[in-house]
């Protein structure tokens, strides 16, 4: 028995030496991800799988913007290194990817927490590790009633976008007692739009003739469109994802439904026009960023110039590229404001004290406060044009008159 004990003890010694060699000595005073000449920023987004077409532009935008900053000499002489991690759009996987970014890559801040379900799943980890982070999508469920301490975003919730569309119908088009129909995707995203619709109906005493919904991933919405057609509304308001917008526009053309259709910013993709053809001419969206064809907007011109320099092959920046680029802009400004002695707490309070941040026309001005990490920014109604393949703004920038946040 003694012989065996000896073997075990010797083995344990080996184990101890092996593990001991793994431990790196890190001085406690250092801020993770910040050195004299470098700041490490992470991004989390789906880089593989079916939603990669959204996730790759999110990561690219952050990389491109900080490459631009590095060419200008960095921030206080520090170059910014961007490390992108794939979350596969699966919640437990995303938490693993974020932990890898924090522990292995030692990121200082995170420029994208990916889509809404992923942001919700990583929020406890972000809070515990105190990583200032940007979320690409303004999601009501995450930022209301109390925002997570370290996560920031910008833009109107879907409820606000729906209200903006309705207010356009009421006050700009001056429609008299319009008959409205509402059609939404039955999940958290669509429910948020419905919340705005109900609030507007109550406030403005509107005449609703049809309310329809479809389940996420449904491949046929013709019966709902038929119901809407039978109800004979004057306007159709949507909270849809782009693929279903295309389905709806094609179905509407088939059934001869020619009323104006109003959707939210997330479904304002050039692809919708490309695939639907002239069926898209009745399609409107509430949009809170500048459009990719507005090259006269200084912010957009710079964005396109910077992007073309790095990706000469692709000309039109995708929607999520623009959204994420603005996030990188905000994060860069926050790091600048936080000063030379950078810490995560300083960055968080710098972001919280950001007032009327000007994105040079990419979005309306952005102001944060301690209780508002996702400020409503100005919107416009844009209309699809099947001849050019782009959207055209048909209103000025503005906010909703009915503000749900004040309640």
């Amino acid at each position: 028995m003694k012989g065996k004990l000896k073997i075990i003890v010797i083995f344990l010694c080996f184990v101890a030496v092996f593990y001991g060699s793994l431990v790196k000595t890190i001085s406690a005073a250092e801020v993770p991800g910040v050195t004299k000449d470098k700041i490490i920023i992470g991004t989390l987004s789906p880089l593989t799988g079916p939603i990669a077409m959204v996730g790759i532009p999110i990561a690219d935008a952050v990389k491109d913007y900080f490459s631009f900053i590095n060419e200008q000499g960095g921030i206080y002489g520090r170059k910014i290194e961007v490390i992108s991690e794939d979350d596969k759009y699966e919640p437990p996987q995303a938490v693993a990817s974020l932990k890898k970014l924090i522990d292995r890559d030692k990121i200082f801040a995170c420029a994208s927490t990916s889509g809404t379900p992923i942001t919700a799943a990583v929020a406890p980890t972000v809070g515990r590790e105190k990583i200032p982070s940007m979320a690409p999508i303004p999601a009501y469920g995450i930022f209301e009633p109390k925002p997570p301490k370290y996560i920031f975003a910008y833009g109107p919730f879907y409820a606000d976008q729906v209200i903006f569309n309705i207010e356009y119908i009421l006050f700009t088009l001056k429609a008299k007692d319009p008959k409205l129909a509402f059609f939404y995707q039955d999940d958290d995203f669509g429910q948020d739009g419905y919340r705005g619709f109900k609030a507007a109906v109550e406030k403005y005493k509107l005449n609703v003739v049809a309310t329809e919904k479809y389940t996420r991933g449904a491949i046929d919405i013709s019966s709902q469109v038929l119901n809407i057609k039978r109800a004979n509304p004057d306007f159709l308001i949507l909270t849809f994802i782009p693929s279903h917008s295309i389905m709806l526009l094609k179905e509407a053309k088939k059934l001869g439904l020619t009323i104006p259709i109003f959707s939210c910013a997330n479904a304002r993709l050039e692809e919708v026009i490309k695939v639907s053809g002239d069926a898209a001419d009745i399609y409107h969206c509430a949009e809170y960023t500048a459009l990719p064809n507005e090259t006269n907007v200084p912010g957009m011109a710079k964005l396109i110039q910077n992007r073309n320099k790095r990706n000469p092959a692709e000309k039109v920046p995708p929607k999520y590229y623009i959204l994420s680029y603005v996030n990188a802009l905000i994060l860069g400004e926050g790091i600048k404001k936080a000063g030379k002695d950078l810490t995560r707490e300083k960055l968080r309070s710098a972001l919280e004290s950001l007032k009327d941040f000007n994105t040079e026309g990419l979005t309306g001005s952005i102001s944060y406060s301690q209780n508002d990490h996702c400020p409503m920014t100005a919107m416009r109604v844009v209309k699809a044009n099947s001849k050019t393949g782009y959207y055209e703004p048909i209103t000025d920038w503005g906010l909703t008159k009915l503000n749900l946040k004040q309640k």
Partner: protein
């Protein structure tokens, strides 16, 4: 040199760990695992914890599919019921120590309900039934807003036992590791006792099993019950670890992953369940290392071929099914046999 295991008493033959060598190996494994967790970074511990949770879940599905031969493509449904039950119970004031077994029991009740048709249905038909069950649970999680907070998902309070919060990765390891160890020992004893033998008999030929006096009704249901209890506990642990759950956490893909775990690990094997769970949890992370290594020198590779992981992942699973249908457990056994006779192997 050892030429075989020879036993001189029934006690020795029935021992769980049969040789001193195995006892020492397992002891070293446990000690080095704990040692590693004490010094490793949170990311590594997170992966270890996920593996441990997956082990509990895959043991459950292996008891049902591997040992009893009842295919389940709706296991994510049991995980979801466990996760939501535990989350809701702790939210309404139950201590974690009560909520987790209760979550397992609630999942068991669901398992019994799904198990009832299994007495009439076999093979593909049962697979479709469990498949539908998975969808029903996902739909309920989405639509029963007052209970589950719908598609928005709900926050879960961290596990707390007698005032100790298990909200760090390291802390959680010391909660999940003993549970996983207990789950393994329990399952191992279960499959070599009466119920386990009955399950295997049912799997091999249910009519023959009935003729030798095995109560099909009771044993099929009990297999569903035990399996869903395991899944419920695994689901509860995931909920308290990630501290947030939503319907998207328990989609069809999760059921498929669990099925893949036991196929890769080895159907009808406890060790195989562990191998499969650990392998399937670590593999995607391991595959990430490849682009990471190339990032420095060949950034273009990682940018343009991000999907390379996905291809490798699929390829490895396919190769397993084709080359080694007995799974990792089969490979392990081959290695053992090889070394037992070394250097006189044929």
């Amino acid at each position: 040199m050892r030429s075989g295991d020879f036993k001189t008493s029934y006690g020795e033959d029935m021992a769980l760990l049969q040789t001193t060598f195995i006892k020492v190996c397992i002891g070293i494994f446990v000690i080095s695992l704990i040692g590693f967790v004490l010094i490793a970074d949170k990311y590594s511990i997170y992966i270890i914890n996920l593996s441990a949770i997956a082990t509990i879940g895959s043991l459950g599905i292996n008891l049902l599919t591997g040992f009893t031969g009842q295919i389940s493509i709706g296991h994510a449904g049991f995980l979801a019921i466990g996760a939501y039950s535990s989350a809701i119970l702790t939210k309404s004031g139950f201590p974690f120590l009560v909520a987790l077994p209760l979550a397992g029991l609630i999942s068991t009740i669901a398992g019994l309900l799904v198990g009832i048709p299994s007495l009439k249905l076999r093979g593909l038909y049962l697979a479709i039934t469990t498949f539908a069950f998975g969808f029903i649970v996902e739909h309920l999680a989405n639509s029963w807003v007052s209970l589950t907070n719908g598609a928005q998902g709900m926050e879960v309070i961290p596990a707390n036992i007698f005032g100790i919060n298990f909200d760090t990765d390291k802390g959680f390891f010391f909660l999940v590791f003993p549970l996983a160890a207990f789950a393994i020992i329990f399952a191992r004893n279960l499959v070599r006792s009466k119920p386990g033998r009955a399950w295997i008999a049912i799997r091999d030929r249910d009519i023959a099993a009935e003729t030798i006096g095995i109560d099909l009704y009771w044993y099929k249901l009990s297999s569903f019950a035990v399996s869903s209890f395991y899944a419920g506990v695994a689901g509860g642990l995931i909920a308290h670890y990630i501290q947030y759950i939503g319907p998207t956490h328990f989609e069809l893909l999760v059921s498929v992953q669990y099925l893949a775990m036991i196929i890769i690990g080895g159907l009808g094997s406890i060790l195989g369940s562990i191998f499969g769970a650990v392998f399937m949890t670590i593999l995607p992370e391991f595959l990430k290392l490849l682009p990471d290594l190339l990032r420095g020198s060949y950034p273009i590779v990682t940018e343009k071929f991000a999907d390379i992981n996905l291809i490798l992942y699929g390829l490895i699973i396919m190769l397993f099914v084709i080359i080694e249908p007995k799974g990792l457990n089969g490979i392990w056994n081959n290695i053992k046999v090889y070394w037992r006779m070394w250097p006189y192997t044929h």
